[in-house]
């Protein structure tokens, strides 16, 4: 069965500092991978996705993620964090079962940004 682990529940970084959020997945086949962001009181917004090809993918809001098959990881990065990036971030793996297209989510990482 597929699973997603986000080892860090909370992360605090200073504004302007770089950011890396960790994501490890378990899936038997080639994974479809996603990162979502959830601002307080809002739904989840898609940041980026990886299906195949270049292992470094660019997303919205200046985020990027790198797929590393050997480490079963899909870490999210940003070179310089802005105060508006404070939010909760979810990694997910996509799969297909008899019922259709599904995503399994990690537990989330809450990012706090210090001024």
């Amino acid at each position: 069965a597929q699973s997603v682990t986000q080892p860090d529940i909370h992360i605090t970084v200073s504004e302007g500092a770089s950011l890396e959020l960790r994501c490890n997945y378990s899936y038997g086949a080639t994974p479809y991978l996603f990162w979502y962001v959830q601002s307080p009181g809002q739904g989840l917004q898609l940041l980026l996705k990886y299906f195949s090809g270049d292992t470094l993918v660019q997303g919205i809001k200046g985020f990027e993620a790198e797929f590393k098959r050997s480490q079963s990881s899909f870490n999210l990065r940003k070179p310089s964090v802005h105060w508006s990036d404070a939010a909760e971030y979810f990694c997910a793996v996509g799969f297909h079962n008899n019922a259709g297209n599904m995503l399994t989510f990690g537990g989330g990482t809450r990012l706090m940004v210090k001024p």
Binding site: G41, G43, L46, F90, G94, N101, L103, F105, G108
Partner: protein, 114 residues
């Protein structure tokens, strides 16, 4: 852009009431989902639907039912609300895919049962 609209941002209901949470999407997506989100527990799938009038149980269906009479609308029903159903409820939709279709989420309904 895909728009997923949940009819209420905040709801307060009493224990034992029947509660309807409505969700509408405007992109002709085949799949629709209901999740609940609780601190420390992440997103948990309640029910999903891959076609009109079709439904499948997710990880935590107990105490809930769903209805999908039209492709664009997916309703979550709490037959008899209880305080442990106080939560944030998120609706999502996606195209048919093999795992490569991202989910598009609504803004959520925060339900409080007193």
């Amino acid at each position: 852009d895909v728009k997923v609209t949940q009819s209420s941002r905040y709801l307060v209901k009493r224990t034992g009431e029947k509660v309807f949470l409505e969700c509408v999407q405007d992109m002709d997506h085949e799949n629709m989902f209901w999740y609940r989100q609780d601190p420390g527990l992440g997103l948990r799938l309640i029910y999903f639907s891959y076609d009109v009038k079709m439904k499948e149980k997710g990880d935590i269906p107990e105490g809930y039912s769903v209805s999908r009479e039209k492709k664009e609308r997916f309703s979550l029903i709490l037959e008899s609300a209880s305080t442990n159903q106080t939560s944030m409820y998120l609706c999502a939709s996606s195209r048919t895919g093999n795992g490569n279709s991202p989910l598009h989420f609504g803004n959520g309904t925060r339900l409080t049962v007193t």
